[in-house]
Subunit: 274 residues, 3 copies
């Protein structure tokens, strides 16, 4: 059995985005933006289910994060377009952040508050401002953070469902087993968990999901903690696409903040050895 069929390969660090040609010619790096506290909180909550210290690769169109967790079991790619911000102004740069510290900043903001962020190039800091409060923190060194290569998977089965349904299934599965099975065929999509003395099961049939595309029956087993932490971090009401195949990673695709933030998440299957 192997928990790591994927993600160990790391792409050479490249600058993402379609606007490489528009790099500032003076070489000065810059990032200054304002964002609703809810938007920042939403994306921090999702990323921090996987990893605490992260690198955002920034250009004039927005920020991109690609990261694997320390155990190389899951991968996230998150794209925050410039429109997700209240105001946005950036040249090509990178910022490394400790998300635990960003969470303490988020606690200072009330609902509806706008948080301003500005890279302080001189001393390698990011400065947050919320109302009359200024909070600055050292940037994390990103030199050893290479972007993982996002897998190109062609998975046979796809279901679109409101995340609340999956959240119910996960709560039923807790304390029964360390693993959760995702199963789909043309009739239903099922989350199930089998323990020594207990079983739990959520079966979604037509009417419970928005779309189900399945040619044959597929089933894979995943670590419950990763799946559960992610699904719980997604705001209620979010539509999520689950792509699945036999003994392949599951691919979860969803948007945050009216789809201005786009997330792809891959989770490696547990494969039973013979």
């Amino acid at each position: 059995m192997s928990l790591r069929p994927e993600y160990t390969g790391v792409a050479s660090a490249t600058i993402p985005g379609e606007n490489i040609e528009s790099n500032d010619s003076d070489g000065e790096q810059m990032f200054k933006a304002e964002i609703k506290s809810e938007t920042l909180k939403g994306l921090v909550n999702v990323i921090s289910t996987l990893i605490d210290e992260v690198k955002f690769t920034i250009d004039q169109d927005g920020m991109v994060l690609k990261a694997v967790d320390p155990a190389h079991v899951a991968m996230i790619e998150l794209k925050v377009g410039a429109k997700a911000f209240e105001s946005y102004s950036a040249s090509n740069t990178e910022i490394g952040l400790d998300l635990d510290k960003v969470k303490t900043v988020l606690k200072l903001a009330g609902p509806g508050d706008t948080i301003s962020m500005e890279q302080d190039e001189g001393n390698g800091r990011l400065v947050f401002r919320i109302g009359k409060i200024t909070r600055s923190m050292n940037l994390v060194d990103t030199s050893s953070m290479n972007d993982p290569k996002v897998p190109q998977l062609s998975l046979s089965t796809k279901v679109r469902v409101v995340v609340d349904q999956l959240q119910k299934g996960i709560r039923a599965a807790e304390s029964i087993s360390d693993h959760i099975a995702l199963k789909a065929n043309s009739k239903y999509f099922e989350l199930s968990c089998e323990g020594d003395t207990d079983d739990a099961n959520l079966k979604l049939e037509e009417g419970d999901y928005e779309e189900l595309i399945a040619s044959s029956e597929v089933c894979s087993l995943f670590p419950l903690d990763y799946f559960s932490n992610l699904i719980k971090a997604i705001p209620s009401g979010t539509m999520i696409t689950v792509e699945l195949d036999n003994d392949y990673p599951v691919k979860l695709v969803f948007g945050l903040s009216n789809d201005e933030v786009k997330v792809e998440y891959f989770l490696a299957p547990r494969i039973e050895s013979d």
Copy 2:
């Protein structure tokens, strides 16, 4: 001093209910029912103040539970009539349940949700269904769980009072002593607690209780934790009857879910040795 004047005697296991003659002749055991989550939660909360693994004795009229706690200090008899359920269908059977697991099922239900339960005779399981969630668990072996003999006590004093009054008295008594005194005479009913440096006291006089029948003054001392855990588990607004005598167990009688569930609870007194 003895904390165990009662309950050590155990009656030979008998089938309760008035309908023994109507046993299904084919010998097949069966239990299938639907119940409001609030009703199931209410009775689980009360029972689990005493014991975690329990046996329900079931017939076509409902379920009965008789249990003592591991230290033989308290006893509960709980009768759940068929009308306490949304639907009910059963032959004579027994089911053994781990209430901690039933609590995890209850957490999956929202207010107003109906929980269906069905005995899976083939593999000794109980299957719960809440909406699209199926949760099944192994039944607990009941072969060593004998029904305790419910004491027939004739106690001289009786007070009927809303449980909220007792809950207030208990909160005042906490952290003062390990024991609580229940005292009554024709004028008042009193809960009191004496510590080395602190006292607490709740005195209920006419108007504070619904009924008080007392021929002479009686007083007994009880372990505060048992009394407190039970009283706190009873829903606010419940009318409770407290029957009392000098150095006798206290008998508490109350109903749950509009009296469809009937509970008798006996708690042994602490008797000071000379």
Copy 3:
């Protein structure tokens, strides 16, 4: 560096108040009063940030408490006028209280409840009554509790501000450093905190405070935990006066319960040694 430039001197125990001449001639000590639970809770919350066992010096006009914390870093003087009570009747006396026990009494009271207190001279107790609950506790021996001498300071800078502003600044400072700097000049009042990798700062300018009197720039450093615990214990909306000078204690003056309770709080500065 010294954290204790103040408060080590202790005044000889004297009877405070302007009515010493009206002492009861019969020598009998007495204290009986009723108080809103919110009022008692408010003052207990403030005092217990400093010290648990306290002495109230009582006369017919009210109660006074003067106390330093065990480390002699902070001092509080709290005056509760007779009008802060629903009813009040007292001769010259002292009562020593364990505030942790008083907090358990406060938990028995709902909002709007009146708590009656009566000194039980015979056996050295204070008796609390809330509705039908009686809760009595031994008084704490006050013979070794001498009143500290309240410092007479003439501080050059004064700012009046709603406590909520300071509460925001404190939340931003937490986890960054053990100390907080208070700084003021004629333009602004600032709370700031510098750590090795992080800074936090709250800058209040005209419009953010009610009044600012400053002749020159002053700045002092204070232990964050003391300052934070006090500021958090003050109810939202309370107007607080902060008096400040270079390397002098800060003096905080505020009222509770519509100013019927008056509080002065002194906190020693951290002075950097050369």
